[in-house]
């Protein structure tokens, strides 16, 4: 298996697709988050209906190396239910905003899932044997009449069909007044942070009845509000460091050793706005929708509406790399504002060795941006290219002028088909791409 490098000499081919085929999408089935666990063996998705579905990679069939291992459903459970806040007369959506896996410590797997208000720690464990031969109980659980017992035996474990159980071990409530947009597990494996529009809280995984507020950007007078927190993440190795992005296009790095309240940032990453690009929508398109540290912890990536930026943690005044995701949309911002697409929050992800980054776009397109070779490619997740091991063909969008063969014009793009959530296997070239209600899994072509 390759170490997850090279976006463009890699050829991607279709592996699997999960989800309903019909075009009539039930709202509850809309995928809202996708996340591989630390080994890549498990792939979790959350949807708008509050469900979590976990897929497990089958152990590889050594006799058929070209048949790459597949992901099959491992566990499905209802994580969150809709709630009603009677005090504020507000309904709380059950939609899963984020899933984050904990590093595995024992046989069981743990993940955090969150909706707008409540975070839950789930334990996913396997049961493949059960005890049999109790003396005082029948097999169905009824108690035996003690008078009928004449002999004693030792109960034994007998194999049974594998059962995967998900149970909520912790429920972290009442930590947030505003809508939670991020959760991030600390490298210390004991704490995690959760961020809403105005505050970031630090929790201990064992303690549910209190949390520490580490960032609070709520102004004394709400009329003075100018920005909100859009995403937050812990540094992958430094347990005292985290970053949070804002709707104004800035990223703040905070060091929890400096003070208990990290309202004052240690570093502020901001690129000055290009005045020639100023428009009615400048504030919207500069709002950062996702921030992700690289695996090596030296860089971070941010996604705003039109671009992906790579920042060196040691340089605050500008990103080291900027990639245009779909620059052809810049002239369409007004229409995208009218149909609300301009508010779409695209995520981004790194590959295993930080050489390639990936993010989604419209028309079920997604983009692979190779940092080392400075090349990019646009691919499509569609039912048309769903034959086993079919290689994905690069797609091209024609911004204007004469449309070449095989190009698609901007006005033909389907803005209802958007890829907001993508995930990359931590070690291999396997990617999971979520369209509205389908999950596509692509793998590197093996010759």
């Amino acid at each position: 298996m390759s170490a997850g490098g090279g976006g463009n000499d890699v050829q991607w081919c279709f592996s699997q697709v999960k989800g309903a085929i019909d075009d009539d999408v039930a709202e509850a089935d809309i995928i809202s988050t996708v996340e591989f666990n630390h080994s890549g063996e498990l792939l979790a998705t959350g949807d708008k209906g509050g469900r979590v579905v976990i897929f497990q990679q089958e152990t590889e069939n050594k006799s058929q190396p070209q048949c790459r291992s597949e992901y099959n459903v491992y566990s499905t459970f209802q994580s969150h239910e809709p709630e009603f806040d009677y005090l504020k007369s507000l309904e709380i959506e059950e939609k899963i905003n984020k899933i984050r896996w904990l590093p595995q410590k024992n046989a069981a797997q743990f993940l955090l899932s969150t909706n707008d208000k409540t975070i839950k720690l789930w334990k996913i464990s396997e049961r493949d044997k059960r005890p049999e031969g109790y003396n005082l109980k029948e097999e169905d659980g009824r108690y035996r009449d003690a008078a009928t017992i004449t002999t004693l035996r030792v109960p034994v474990f007998r194999p049974m069909d594998l059962m995967v159980e998900a149970s909520p071990r912790r429920v972290f409530v009442n930590g947030h007044t505003y809508h939670i947009n991020s959760i991030s597990v600390n490298s210390d494996n004991e704490t995690y942070l959760s961020a809403d529009d105005l505050r970031i809280n630090l929790w201990h995984l064992e303690i549910t009845d209190r949390s520490f507020n580490v960032v609070d950007i709520k102004p004394a007078n709400m009329e003075e509000l100018t920005e909100v927190i859009t995403a937050a993440e812990f540094h992958p190795h430094q347990c005292n460091t985290f970053v949070y992005s804002s709707s104004k296009g800035t990223i703040r790095l905070c060091d929890m050793r400096a003070s208990a309240l990290c309202d004052k940032h240690s570093k502020l990453f901001e690129e000055p706005e290009d005045p020639s690009n100023r428009s009615f929508f400048s504030e919207i398109i500069s709002s950062i929708s996702d921030v992700k540290f690289s695996h090596n912890g030296r860089y971070m990536m941010t996604r705003d509406y039109l671009s992906v930026k790579i920042w060196d943690l040691n340089m605050e005044n500008r990103p080291v790399e900027t990639y245009q995701v779909h620059e052809y949309l810049r002239s369409k911002l007004c229409s995208l504002y009218e149909n609300d697409c301009i508010f779409d929050k695209f995520e981004c992800c790194w590959n295993g060795n930080d050489s390639v980054v990936m993010t989604g776009s419209y028309n079920n397109f997604f983009r692979m941006l190779d940092r080392s070779q400075r090349r990019d490619v646009t691919l499509e997740a569609s039912r048309e290219s769903c034959k086993a091991r079919q290689v994905l063909k690069p797609r091209r969008v024609c911004a204007g002028g004469k449309r070449k063969k095989d190009e698609i014009s901007v006005d033909s793009l389907d803005f209802n088909k958007k890829i907001l959530h993508t995930a990359w296997h931590p070690q291999e070239n396997i990617i999971a791409v979520a369209t509205t209600n389908n999950l596509y899994i692509f793998q590197e072509k093996v010759n």
Partner: protein, 302 residues
């Protein structure tokens, strides 16, 4: 699909669209999204600034043209020696007459003596010229119902003085703090500051912004231009706001916020004329421009 024709990027339609989004967000599942509404309020501000700049530039151009024509006509008729006497008499009385000599008077008097002062954007020496016409507009006694529409105050109107003599522009906004559940009513202050701040390059002199705003609408209302097609949902909004205004305004947080939005539309109700026109987005957005500061603050107050 995106329309192949570029959608109207004019400020006015953007304002209408933005207001509609804010209104719709009230009924969305999951509660009001602070982030989205904040971004929409930025678009509102940008659109308003452009709209105001365009309008003032237009006023200036038009008035400059008219003044030039008027002056030319006057020069042809009047004896130059009579001009100075006329002006001295009419210095304190430019409000009274709407005749041509007043406008000439305005043209000759220095800027600081002018009564109202919506100043143009370009600081050219001809700035005194358009002011005379504006002074006439301002000095007209304003329609009280007109003020009510400008004021972003929860219904019913209580202690706000709308008289032009008083010249106070009373503004109240109700803010709900989601953390402490405290409802705060903020009076005065920020609304007119907000208006001033964005247009301070335009304004000179210590002119009450209430008058300026009055001027805007006094001038604009008479000139409804071509109307952008507004979606049918506007009618529903009108009905909704009528309903909202009848809700009790005590401690109920949401009803206060609704009333903030409702009061902007109440202004449409109180205008006896043009109720039909009130339902059209163009008119509504013009009305809303006056209270835009309150709107954006109210939005952000969630």
């Amino acid at each position: 699909m995106i329309n192949t024709m570029e959608c109207a990027v004019d400020a006015q339609s953007l304002i209408s669209i933005s207001l509609r989004k804010i209104h719709n967000s009230r009924t969305q599942r999951g509660g009001i999204k602070l982030h989205k509404n904040l971004l929409v309020s930025y678009v509102l501000r940008n659109a308003r600034q452009v709209y105001m700049n365009e309008k003032y530039a237009e006023i200036y151009r038009m008035q400059q043209y008219e003044e030039v024509m008027t002056v030319c006509n006057e020069i042809q008729e009047l004896n130059p020696l009579d001009l100075v006497e006329d002006c001295e008499e009419q210095t304190g009385d430019c409000c009274g007459s709407a005749n041509e000599s007043a406008s000439l008077c305005g043209a000759l008097l220095p800027v600081s003596h002018q009564v109202p002062s919506v100043h143009h954007i370009q600081p050219s020496s001809a700035c005194s010229v358009p002011l005379a016409l504006q002074s006439e507009e301002v000095c007209k006694s304003p329609d009280p119902s007109f003020y009510r529409s400008c004021c972003a105050e929860p219904y019913p109107v209580s202690n706000c003085d709308f008289s032009p003599v008083n010249n106070m522009h009373c503004n109240k906004t109700t803010v709900l703090d989601l953390d402490t559940h405290v409802v705060t009513t903020v009076e005065n202050g920020y609304l007119h500051q907000d208006c001033c701040a964005s247009l301070q390059q335009c304004y000179q002199g210590a002119q009450s912004p209430a008058k300026k705003r009055k001027l805007d609408f006094g001038y604009y209302v008479s000139e409804i231009e071509e109307v952008p097609d507004f979606t049918p949902c506007k009618r529903a909004k009108f009905e909704d706001s009528s309903y909202a205004c009848t809700e009790p305004l005590d401690t109920s947080n949401i009803s206060n916020l609704i009333s903030i939005f409702g009061s902007g539309f109440t202004g449409l109700v109180s205008r006896q004329a043009d109720l039909e026109q009130a339902l059209n987005g163009q008119f509504c957005s013009k009305q809303a421009l006056a209270s835009l500061g309150a709107w954006t603050r109210a939005i952000v107050a969630f």
